[in-house]
Symmetry: C2
Subunit: 302 residues, 2 copies
Amino acid sequence: MTEYLRALVLGAAAGGGLPQWNCGCENCMDARAGNAGLVPQTQSSIAFTSDGCDWAVFNASPDIRQQLLDNAVLHPRSLRDTPVASVTLTNGDIDHIAGLLVIREKQPFNVFATREIISVISANPVFNVVDRNLVAINEVSLGQSYEPAPGLTAELFAVPGKVPLYLEGEQVQTDLEGEQTVGVKLTGRGKTAYYIPGCALMTPALAERMRGADLVFFDGTVFTDTEMIDTGTGVKTGRRMGHMPVSGNDGSIAAFSSLDVAMRVFVHINNTNPMWRPDSTARREVEASGWQIGYDGMEVAI
Amino acid sequence: MTEYLRALVLGAAAGGGLPQWNCGCENCMDARAGNAGLVPQTQSSIAFTSDGCDWAVFNASPDIRQQLLDNAVLHPRSLRDTPVASVTLTNGDIDHIAGLLVIREKQPFNVFATREIISVISANPVFNVVDRNLVAINEVSLGQSYEPAPGLTAELFAVPGKVPLYLEGEQVQTDLEGEQTVGVKLTGRGKTAYYIPGCALMTPALAERMRGADLVFFDGTVFTDTEMIDTGTGVKTGRRMGHMPVSGNDGSIAAFSSLDVAMRVFVHINNTNPMWRPDSTARREVEASGWQIGYDGMEVAI
């Protein structure tokens, strides 16, 4: 039995993954070909354990079937079984909820989410394929402690963000703070970790919350705010998509520079992000600042 | 440019795939370990082309991202691009529709389905993530010809089946014939192929329809009707799930024995099916009867 709080990155990429099915950008082409040190990465999900047996998964990516296959610690140990004790949803985005449709085969586990995120699920009859007689959908309030797996304590808190793409209206507020986009504080084995795959803006309160943490997995979607426009792959800025950039005076590297967080790892990284490339100046800047780039199968024990 | 009508099996397994995330049956264990000649297989989908460039995909499996990555002919050829001209849905099951949520990134293509299957999609706001300004959802009537890709003609017809699992009520009719479960007739290059991933019952009319065809991909979900009960993995018979068995007097091998179909391939094969195993008596029976077992990446040209 482990003496550590352990994290396992199931999917390090943002929605679409690396490569994205319809993308011919340099990163996607190189990931398909295995060139320049790029390796395919699946969509956003992470798992934590404090006993090495029971795992709490955060976000159910559309790639969850492949993710559970790729990581032996998550294989069933008997005829019908899973080490996955629960799935917590941090927002209603497709890359975080669609995987619930995949793990639908009469297997008991817990789902945890805010009322607002549960209401998104409940508004879609397809999610009835998850048998409520076996899978408990647990509503969790902001600030309420719950146990996502034995020996782990979790707490959800509001992070600036927006509603899911498919619920956007004409006007989109990208710095909502409520139940639609949350971060997770995890404690176990006397350690504290944070998981925040989407964050539109670093507020003073959010920064203070994370001060002195042992480990933070943070939104690494775009390196610069105009990255998708600059690469010709999209028309939206990072912030319009609900993600603050990694670099720059108002980016996440700068925001964490005085927070004394022992270990910082970027996850939810978009396929266009130059820091995927080992030979890039972006990568050098990230690593020089003490951050790590997450990758599928990355294990962290604290 | 090819002179053939070509098919490419994207996913040969039924819902859940091989292995299924929570299944420790012998087939799933061996597929995870690469033992006994078993290889992991993704969920139900197939693609056809008559020009070698533009592909018509039938069913959008949750594994579609991996499937499009694994098959080089389906990679984008420019910055944002896909060789996928269209996706046709043959029923509303999760393993046939959830992939639409995955191919959501501002890429034009066509969706074809019956009114009933489209109504299932439309009842779920999550599918609004597929931008209707770029993706045309085309309603197709039974018996109506349409062009799923240049040079290909398709026609949908009713096949005995049931409503999707998540829409089942107290009583479930498993031999409905209407718009909820369809087969596909494909013609191109002077050849005729059929794709029927789900069929609860072989009716005389359905048998006559396929007589003399060049190629049929057919429902190979279960080898015997009580297979899931016998393996301890479920409580339903194959027929209750909307699938006639492969073997037996009323199975699909017997049903096709006098239909003079040149090439017969089983697809939509459940993880419990013994014919996955190269050394099984089931496999020998299938091959002795002139059938082939589909597999991910299988190419057939006629």
